[in-house]
């Protein structure tokens, strides 16, 4: 009661105060709400500030949202503050007088995201015609996030003075949205709704869905109002019956636990309802005993399955639009249905893009293997660690070269050089001795893999390291709200394409490629033709490793750089190569494509469990290899001889 009184006096005071006084006094009236704002309580402050019409109010609101308002602990006054180290330069909200002080006596106000959003909405009317386009933009963002009926009029009014074409288009769009939802006149609303039929954006669909928002209800006979649809209670009898119970139209089901406690409460001489206790370890006996109790009226009767069916059959379950005008809801429904079809198409396309992107990542990770495994038949379990080395090279370069674009340009060739060197060293020191023992290369390279992984851990620590992409690779290519792909993924795709072309060129058009193929097909014959197989093997292995290093930079840009990142790709990469067909670049491409799209497809079928998708993917690969043991593109040459 007292609270109501206080708030009443506040209200009265604020109305009278607002007309005559300044921002500070309004704030002091609601000091608690200003100092510790909450989305739900802050509106009283905002309403008063806006109602006051004071010119300082909008500026204060902006500064408040930006966390530049501090409170003097001693006087309780609010000031606008610019921080410089530990010192504060403060400015009086109303008079604009400035001064400096140490931080100690002041507390910064930190309105949370929810409050900032409400402040943004309050600011809309001031900002719509502001000379600063950024402010107009933020006003429009506010409207887009939280459209209100009251915003329609000022928005329409501001349209005439808008000279920025982008903002003007946005304003027109938002006017359509607001008209569709809040317009006075049915024809105008229907027209606005129908004009959205080609708009697949989330915002447009949100507008239509909000018009179509409906509440579920239950009644004994045909309900009144704008009914969306009548539901069949048998689709989910339990839930429907629950709805009936909530509506007070049916008795609640007695849960098993309640039966038990009811029995416990009614034990008479070691019997319940005439049934001896010892026999109650059986649900049927319990129900019988409970039935006896219910017959006496001690407990509410059990609701049987038949009762439920009867109750459900005698009730009408429906959804009712909150919008009463049928013309509007019909138009919105028709428009939304039309949009949904397009959205479906767009989403399929987006999924295909994701699949393509995943495929290109797999391809990039596997392409180095396709060379070492495919051309040379060498199982390199340390391939993943070469990817990791490439990524860490990128990280180290960024430590020294702060400009991300330059560092990327340096990192790519450097990563290639580093891993090329590592690959050559590994080939010379280890693999060379094991060409005739392929299974043992697997083991030896595994040894190298665990050693490299641990060394990386010892040097860089176990924490993930940042590899940041340049700004021009940030963001996403937005074709529509439903079709977007981040630039970094496009870059990886382009990267993968480049590598594909480069590799094809090297293998098919250069002397090195010719020699590689020759050694692959018949090392002895190649040697007798004057080709040095040792050198070729070394170069091939270096090339494969170098490419892994460059792939590492790409992968590190879009995901995490850790010492274990290589291990995450190694099994996938081998499977990509094997599924595609060893020894063929196109095979690897096909393998990566198959695996990428398949994984996305399975994820789409079961969106809530990505892990399951991966499991089924691998099972598919196992089966696939059973039926095409040599992969999609069957190999020729040395690899085929195994």
């Amino acid at each position: 009661m007292i609270r109501v009184l206080i708030s009443l006096t506040w209200l009265l005071a604020s109305v009278s105060v607002a007309a005559s006084q300044d921002v500070q006094s309004i704030l002091q009236t609601h000091a608690e709400e200003v100092a510790k704002p909450s989305r739900k309580s802050v509106s009283v402050v905002l309403d008063d500030l806006v109602a006051s019409g004071l010119p300082q109010a909008p500026e204060f609101l902006e500064q408040w949202a930006e966390r530049n308002v501090w409170r003097n602990n001693a006087t309780g006054l609010f000031v606008i503050v610019t921080e410089e180290g530990d010192d504060l330069t403060f400015r009086d909200i109303d008079s604009g007088e400035t001064g400096t002080a140490s931080e100690d006596g002041f507390t910064q106000l930190r309105p949370n995201g929810g409050v900032r959003r409400v402040i943004g909405t309050a600011l809309v009317q001031f900002q719509l015609s502001d000379p600063d386009p950024a402010r107009r933009q933020s006003a429009l963002d506010s409207i887009a996030r939280r459209g209100e009926a009251s915003q329609l009029e000022p928005l329409v009014a501001s349209l005439a003075g808008e000279d920025d074409p982008a903002l003007r288009a946005r304003k027109e769009q938002l006017i359509t949205f607001l008209t569709a939802r809040f317009g006075e006149d049915t024809d105008a609303r229907v027209a606005a709704i129908e004009s959205l039929s080609a708009d697949t954006s989330v915002e447009a669909r949100a507008v239509l869905s909000q018009i179509l928002s409906a509440n579920a209800g239950v009644a004994t006979d045909t309900p009144e109002g704008n009914i969306a649809r009548i539901l069949d209670p048998m689709e989910d009898p339990t839930a429907s019956y629950g709805q009936l119970v909530d509506a007070g139209l049916a008795p609640p089901i007695v849960p098993v636990g309640a039966v038990r406690s009811a029995l416990e409460a009614n034990i008479v001489d070691g019997r319940v309802g005439g049934v001896p206790l010892a026999q109650l370890g059986d649900q049927d006996m319990r129900n019988m005993a409970y039935g006896a109790l219910a017959a006496d009226g001690t407990v509410p009767p059990l609701v049987t399955q038949d009762d439920i069916t009867v109750a459900l059959e005698n009730a009408v379950f429906f959804e009712r639009y909150s919008e009463e005008d049928t013309t509007v809801t019909d138009a919105a429904r028709a428009t939304l249905d039309a949009i949904e079809t397009r959205v479906g198409l767009e989403q399929t396309f987006d999924l295909a893009l994701d699949g393509l992107s995943l495929a290109s990542i797999y391809f990039l990770a596997a392409i180095g293997l396709a060379i070492t495994f495919g051309q040379m038949g060498v199982i390199n379990m340390a391939h993943g660690e070469f990817i990791m080395m490439g990524a860490y090279t990128g990280y180290v370069v960024q430590l020294f070269v702060p400009d991300y674009t330059v560092s990327l340009l340096v990192a790519l060739p450097l990563a290639f050089a580093v891993t090329f060197g590592a690959g050559v060293a590994m080939e010379r020191l280890v693999i060379r001795h094991l060409y005739h023992r392929p299974l043992e290369t697997l083991l030896a390279t595994f040894g190298i893999s665990i050693a490299l992984q641990q060394i990386a851990k010892n040097i860089f620590g176990t924490q993930a390291r940042p590899l940041t992409s340049p700004d021009w690779l940030g963001g996403a290519l937005v074709i529509s709200d439903n079709i977007q792909i981040s630039y970094i993924r496009i870059a990886i795709f382009v990267f993968a394409l480049l590598f594909l072309c480069l590799l094809l060129f090297i293998l098919n058009r250069t002397r090195l490629g010719l020699e590689v193929r020759a050694v692959n097909q018949n090392p002895g014959m190649a040697a007798s033709m004057g080709i040095n197989p040792d050198r070729i093997n070394m170069m091939t292995f270096g090339l494969g490793s170098g490419i892994a290093g460059v792939a590492g930079v790409g992968i590190g840009l879009y995901a995490q750089v850790t010492s274990e990142m290589g291990a995450n790709y190694i099994v996938q990469s081998f499977m990509t190569v094997v599924v595609g067909g060893v020894g063929s670049v196109f095979g690897t491409l096909a393998g990566a494509g198959l695996i990428g799209f398949l994984q996305k497809g399975i994820e789409w079928l079961n969106p809530s469990n990505t892990l399951a998708a991966q499991t089924y993917m691998i099972l598919f690969i196992i089966l696939f290899i059973q039926f095409r043991p040599k992969g999609i593109v069957a190999p020729k040459g040395r690899a085929a001889a195994d």
Partner: protein
């Protein structure tokens, strides 16, 4: 098998190493048993008895791996999956039976006797409550029966190996392809088990397995000694079985397949059947080893089955020496014990002045390096060195 055709000396005479190894194993077991806490001497702590018992199980799967890889030439990167399945099969019973006892005790005090449904709900809630469910998945249908779960220890790995092997060998998937395929199988299994919906408690796995129902009164010192003895017995029997198999004519064919598969096929042998037999029997032994291992470890979880574990298995066998059963035993025992010594902080750090080598950080580097060196320069592993010594003397 064909003793009447070729006059041969006795099995033991042909394989003196079997006798030596079994004698060494017997002696070792006896010493550990006497010195353990269970007998009151307590020179060997219970935790070390568990470590030794687990090591024996690892030796058992290592000889299985040796038979399939060292003798038959199939580099399976999936045998740890069978090991894990064995562990899960026995773990299900251990968890179920233990929980059943707890639930029975907690429900015993109630006035109204519990219904079977209530008991089952309470057990389900206890076991699956931690993973946010209380329903019993279908695969737990027989978890209440020790006998059936024991049968599963043998049957599930066996059947899985049979089906997988049949598919793979029939399509003539060989060499590295087969290795990658088995690795894919392991990965698929561990990813599947990682899911909470798998019904085997996802990442948490099955835990508290060291508490054997019915043996709650005899402490862990006795239980762990019992498992140690059982592991030693299993290793001895497994060793005998594999020594006998590799010594027989069957063993000769298997080794011939390793050396040149095509020739054996052209000689009229059905190579696939032999490979399938070896693959399956070793999978079964791996399952048994797992069923003995995990009650000593106390917990089984999908990470145990991750592909890396199977690769380590190959590493042990390679370091110990392929194609010799005792090599596998030596490799598994040595590497796994050394590994726990190094990572346990047992090895002293080496101060180089500018840098201190802490073995926790550098052990894997050392292991990886050693492994490369062994592969390069001592392809016969430690067992090979052994052979040289024996031949010289």
């Amino acid at each position: 098998m064909t003793k009447e055709h070729t006059p041969r000396t006795s099995f033991v005479a042909r394989n003196p190493s079997v006798l030596y190894l079994l004698m060494a194993l017997g002696l070792f077991t006896a010493v550990v048993a006497v010195l353990s806490e269970a007998t009151g001497v307590g020179l060997i702590s219970t935790s070390f008895v568990k470590t030794l018992g687990k090591t024996l199980c690892l030796c058992l799967i290592a000889i299985a791996m040796d038979v399939v890889w060292g003798y038959c030439g199939i580099l399976s990167l999936g045998h740890f999956a069978f090991f894990g399945i064995g562990g899960y099969a026995i773990g299900m019973w251990l968890m179920y039976a233990r929980t059943e006892i707890i639930v029975a005790e907690s429900l015993a005090g109630q006035v109204i006797p519990p219904t079977p449904q209530e008991i089952s709900d309470a057990i389900g809630n206890q076991i699956f409550g931690v993973v946010g469910s209380s329903e019993f998945p279908l695969i737990w249908a027989f978890a209440d029966s020790l006998f059936i779960q024991l049968a599963f220890v043998v049957l599930v790995p066996g059947l899985l190996a049979l089906i997988f092997g049949w598919l793979a060998f029939r399509s003539r998937v060989t060499g590295v392809y087969l290795s990658i395929l088995t690795q894919a199988m392991t990965l698929a299994l561990s990813l599947y088990l990682f899911q909470n919906d798998s019904g085997l408690r996802g990442n948490n796995g099955l835990s508290g397995l060291q508490n054997v129902p019915g043996l709650a009164d005899s402490g862990q010192d006795v239980v762990s000694l019992a498992f140690f003895l059982a592991s030693a017995l299993a290793l001895a029997l497994g060793y005998l079985l594999f020594a006998w198999i590799t010594d027989s004519k069957l063993g000769n064919i298997i080794q011939a397949i390793r050396d040149d598969e095509s020739r054996v096929r052209f000689l009229g042998y059905h190579v696939e059947s032999y490979k399938l037999f070896v693959f399956t029997i070793t999978a079964i032994v791996a399952g048994i080893a797992g069923a003995l291992y995990y009650p000593q470890a106390g917990i089984i979880n999908p990470a145990e089955i991750a592909p890396i574990a199977s690769i380590y298995l190959a590493v042990w066998v390679a370091i110990g020496g392929r194609g010799r059963l005792y090599g596998a035993v030596i490799g598994a025992a040595l590497v796994s014990l050394l590994s726990s010594w190094f990572t346990g902080g047992g090895a002293p750090s080496i101060n180089l002045g500018f840098y201190t080598i802490q073995w926790v950080d550098w052990w894997l580097v050392l292991l990886g390096g050693t492994f490369v060196l062994v592969t390069l320069f001592a392809p016969k592993g430690i067992g090979g060195l052994f052979d040289k010594l024996v031949r010289k003397s």
